[in-house]
Symmetry: C2
Subunit: 341 residues, 2 copies
Amino acid sequence: MRGVIMHTAGDVRVEDRADPTIIEPTDAVIRLTATCICGSDLWPYRGIEPADHQVMGHEYVGVVEEIGSEVTNVAPGDFVVGSFVISDNTCEICQAGFQSKCVHAEFVAQTIGTQAEKARIPYADGTLVKTPGEPSPEQIPALLAASDVLGTGWYAAVGAEAGPGKTVAVVGDGAVGLMAVLAARQLGAERIIAMSRHPQRQELARYYGATDIVEERGDAGVQRIKDLTNGLGAHSVIEAVGTQESFMQAVGATRGGGHLGYVGVNYDVQIPGIELFFAGIHTLGGPAPVRRFLPDLIDLIWNGAIDPGKVFDLTLPLEEAAEGYRAMDERRATKVLLTLE
Amino acid sequence: MRGVIMHTAGDVRVEDRADPTIIEPTDAVIRLTATCICGSDLWPYRGIEPADHQVMGHEYVGVVEEIGSEVTNVAPGDFVVGSFVISDNTCEICQAGFQSKCVHAEFVAQTIGTQAEKARIPYADGTLVKTPGEPSPEQIPALLAASDVLGTGWYAAVGAEAGPGKTVAVVGDGAVGLMAVLAARQLGAERIIAMSRHPQRQELARYYGATDIVEERGDAGVQRIKDLTNGLGAHSVIEAVGTQESFMQAVGATRGGGHLGYVGVNYDVQIPGIELFFAGIHTLGGPAPVRRFLPDLIDLIWNGAIDPGKVFDLTLPLEEAAEGYRAMDERRATKVLLTLE
């Protein structure tokens, strides 16, 4: 099969890879319908994380081709969406809703690499969720978004306790930040402040439910959020950038007793304990347990209640993945969908 | 009146101070029945925080002597307990239960200094809670504990979501850690692991409800907590030390999706963002909103349901405050009560 290999930072190629096969009786092999490039794929692309002939990709939708002898929840021919973290969905941690910390957790990005024609999915029963039927071509991007950016933005909004009566501030206008705006709206937030200085992304943020836009960053951004909230700060803040500045901006924008949900942190971020302490806030962060939300997200997409697919602003065939990486690296695209047919 | 002045690090004296008077119509002046020395008072004592002729003390119980014209909840003669943070108890932040972040918040330690015969308490209606009657001498230490260490330990346990079915690990065997054990027990935790290597404090931890003692620290301490919890970590972890090592020990001991409550952090603590991220945990920290819990804590003490006064293991007259500081600094005492009669 064909698949993306990152030879080294900045050097993305589509090459022949061995076809995946069933190894464990709990595995499934899927044929991908679509996959995509994630903001986090830019970390090795930019040399922030190491890359040495690394398989790439962790977002996926597709059709089950083959299952192991113990798989019962999905069958060949089913259209499925999976999370970017493998989970058995039965352990104590999964049952508590934190499937990304499953005792059998495995990052799809590191070993499987779904920027490819096929993928072996371990713990298929726990990881994959089948759709009510064969999706239309228009539904594919939305379902693909559910695999990571939508699920991650949703988790950030849940972690920030976005809901009725709440003012929510979203730090970051990338795909995850935009999906967090969508989630905050769906969760009933009263006011949603998107922090963005990029005109197209501001427009998309408004489309997804932002009521206010703040262009300032850092201390000035914090001050603007306070100005908009009687000096108190937002009830709920979502951090969807992951730099030192953006993290501390999010801490500063959260009112005392408020909630901060964060879903990505660069390796060099150091949080001054005393600042976090005196902020007096709740935090919840980590790789999102997308699996917790997948059934509901699929329903919302199937019923047309949400349209997360608009975060993809460039679509290319898998063979042109290198151009997709370049477009995202140069911020010519927010998120790139890779087609496989 | 007489009161403690810390001239400089390590130099504590009891001297004459001006008697407090009503300044704002929302003030009360109280005559203290007892006060005490807090672990955090050792920070300036040890030169970790600056001290230049600093008034000291932020825990207090006593009798109202005089009130401003707008005070209605307490009256002269009332026996009262107050929080170590002034709060109006009416603003939006207070109403949400985070009185330590009140829009009128003021730290008693910095400007009032309750290691003294009297104290002016701003926002008396919001800050002070009166007891059902005149307490017995035996109830005084318990009520004094409610003013900070009990309220702070309680908040840590609430922040860690200690409760039925939960395994709670408490990092730190000082007064706050011991009170967190008491709180976890009262909140119905199934298992309470106290991390302590000090025999008398282990004994007191068991008295307050600890079911297990772990003597290891750092990575070894984390491993022991995992060994005791099927490899998962504790549901609820309370951090009551505040050093870099203890904070990261607490993060490591918390299971994915679990809750960490922390109630003190040294100025030099830097939390690696990536470690907190991949831990995938909830956190809640900050100066405790003791005022939220005071009415319930006073009830529990009044009814004899809890006995937090045992954390005081040395009682001295105010005039001997310097010896009290020395005893705590040298760890000859866990917590020192200062009498005023």
